[in-house]
């Protein structure tokens, strides 16, 4: 068999093994490459840090477990930032799975800051029908929140921080950690378009181009895109978390994929030169 045919016919399972090895090695011994700058993530960070103390910031966990690696570092940074700045932190989820993560990720940080549930932060739970929630909350937020209860099923009217927050427009900003729809698009269409509420987002790098597009159109105030964005917000916040470490595996992974691409093409052009394919 000519060499180029062999090159074109490498078993995909060999490729898979190379990828696993390449991505795993830096997890055990990091290379320590620098973090690239991200202006759109910077915009998000600046927007939240410039909100005055006492602002009502709603963090919505519109994500599934798949977004964990990319979004948890960002959630850690921004929840911490909001507590630092003295914002009122509201947590909720448009995705059922996100409902677990809102507590799992935010509660330890609230504890660290000594925040009081119901006064400094509250978890509003999961909204089954996002479109109904986004619509109804514009006039009656409490009724829209599962009929007026928080995640644990306690009455919202019993919490001090819910007293003056009765409709969507009472929020100063919405930050959506998202892995798809419903996510920023829904927030923009329902809350930004109608009530003019500032929307920010942290997304996986798949949705980054779309979100950057929204940012440039002024629909989003900022966006933390993927692990790179997370790593940059960790840098801004002065922490070195899992995002900063993961960037090394990223570099190697990218190089491997580009090598595959080149190998495939060398094989292709060589066999084309030999007249085997058109």
């Amino acid at each position: 068999m000519p060499w180029y045919k062999r090159l074109m016919g490498i078993d995909r399972r060999i490729l898979y093994i190379i990828m696993v090895v390449g991505i795993t090695v830096p997890m055990f011994s990091p290379l320590g490459l620098p973090v690239p700058e991200d202006v759109v993530a910077q915009a998000a960070y600046d927007y939240i840090s410039n909100l005055p103390a006492g602002s009502n910031v709603l963090y919505s966990y519109d994500l599934s477990a798949s977004g964990m690696t990319e979004l948890k570092p960002t959630s850690d940074v921004f929840i911490d930032l909001s507590f630092q700045k003295g914002h009122n932190v509201y947590l909720m989820a448009l995705w059922a799975e996100g409902n677990n993560f809102s507590s799992l990720w935010a509660d330890p940080i609230a504890e660290k800051h000594g925040a009081v549930y119901g006064e400094n932060y509250i978890n509003l739970g999961f909204m089954v029908s996002f479109s109904a929630f986004l619509e109804q909350s514009r006039s009656d937020l409490h009724a829209a929140l599962n009929g007026g209860i928080d995640k644990m099923g306690d009455k919202l009217s019993d919490f001090p921080m819910m007293k003056d927050v009765t409709k969507a427009a009472d929020f100063d900003a919405v930050f959506s950690f998202n892995t798809g729809d419903p996510g920023p698009t829904a927030w923009i269409q329902q809350w930004n378009a109608t009530e003019g509420i500032a929307i920010l987002s942290a997304c996986t790098s798949v949705s980054t181009p779309t979100m950057v597009n929204y940012y440039q159109s002024g629909l989003l105030k900022g966006n933390v895109g993927g692990l790179a964005g997370s790593a940059w917000s960790e840098f801004l916040h002065g922490t070195k978390g899992s995002a900063t470490g993961g960037m090394d595996s990223q570099s190697l992974g990218h190089v491997i994929i580009i090598l595959f691409l080149i190998l495939g093409n060398i094989g292709y052009f060589a066999s084309r030169a030999a007249g085997d394919v058109k």
């Binding site: 399972r13 898979y16 990828m19 696993v20 991505i23 795993t24 997890m27 055990f28 798949s66 964990m68 690696t69 990319e70 059922a96 999961f126 089954v128 029908s129 479109s131 599962n146 009929g147 923009i188 269409q189 329902q190 378009a193 109608t194 996986t204 790098s205 798949v206 980054t208 181009p209 440039q216 159109s217 002024g218 629909l219 993927g226 692990l227 790179a228 899992s242 993961g246 595996s249 990223q250 992974g253 990218h254 994929i257």
Partner: protein
């Protein structure tokens, strides 16, 4: 129950499911099938359970206390969908279908959707001759020309009733080439997210499960 279902045992179960599903990379095999069926069954139940606990149960318990008896009507309308399984009366199921499609089609076609559309249109407008502080900015001008021409080329590519001939042919081909470059960029930009996912899973296997990290 919690005494038996410890986090460690949980990690073992999750790791087993993870490895069995990864085995599809080698080829389709009995282990993959077991994990696949378990996953599909459990997650299908989850969808029903959450809907029951979050929507139906609260609605039914609040009927006597709040007097929202009218809510029985939409629930019955929803139940009509089950006629779809009984052939002679399958047409009855069209009533809830018609209701849902009407509502959702209107969401697709509302003024609310037109606003982002018009807003996107305004952001496609850029000066072809860019000036910075009163003097001509060549780079920005070229970039702006590129930007506007691509938007126009792409729009022309999607003309369906105009035959792609003459100037339209060139414009559409230009649009299509731009689409390829633009989408190639999207592809390249996604690799990062995908590697992140694998990092997440490997962190689970090596860290949470085996405790090596």
């Amino acid at each position: 129950m919690e005494a038996i279902l410890t986090p460690t045992l949980g990690n073992w179960l999750a790791a087993l499911v993870t490895l069995m599903l990864f085995s599809i990379l080698y080829k389709e095999n009995p282990l993959y099938r077991i994990a696949e069926h378990l996953y599909v069954g459990a997650s299908a139940a989850h969808g029903i359970v959450t809907t029951w606990n979050n929507t139906i149960k609260p609605a039914m318990t609040s009927m006597p206390t709040k007097g929202t008896w009218w809510e029985i009507i939409p629930m019955v309308v929803g139940l009509l969908i089950y006629f779809n399984m009984y052939r002679p009366y399958a047409w009855v199921a069209r009533i809830p279908m018609g209701f849902w499609i009407g509502y959702n089609a209107a969401l697709v076609l509302s003024a609310r959707q037109v606003i982002p559309f018009l807003s996107q249109m305004t952001t496609a407008i850029k000066p072809l001759v860019a000036m910075t502080n009163g003097s001509f900015n060549l780079t920005q001008s070229i970039n702006n020309i590129l930007f506007v021409s691509i938007v126009l080329g792409v729009l022309i590519y999607f003309f369906f009733t105009v035959e792609h001939k003459g100037i339209f042919k060139y414009a559409a081909n230009y649009g299509r080439l731009a689409i390829m470059i633009g989408f190639g960029a999207s592809f390249g930009n996604t690799v990062m997210a995908r590697i992140s996912l694998l990092i997440g899973r490997l962190t689970f296997l090596f860290g949470n499960w085996l405790g090596l990290l």
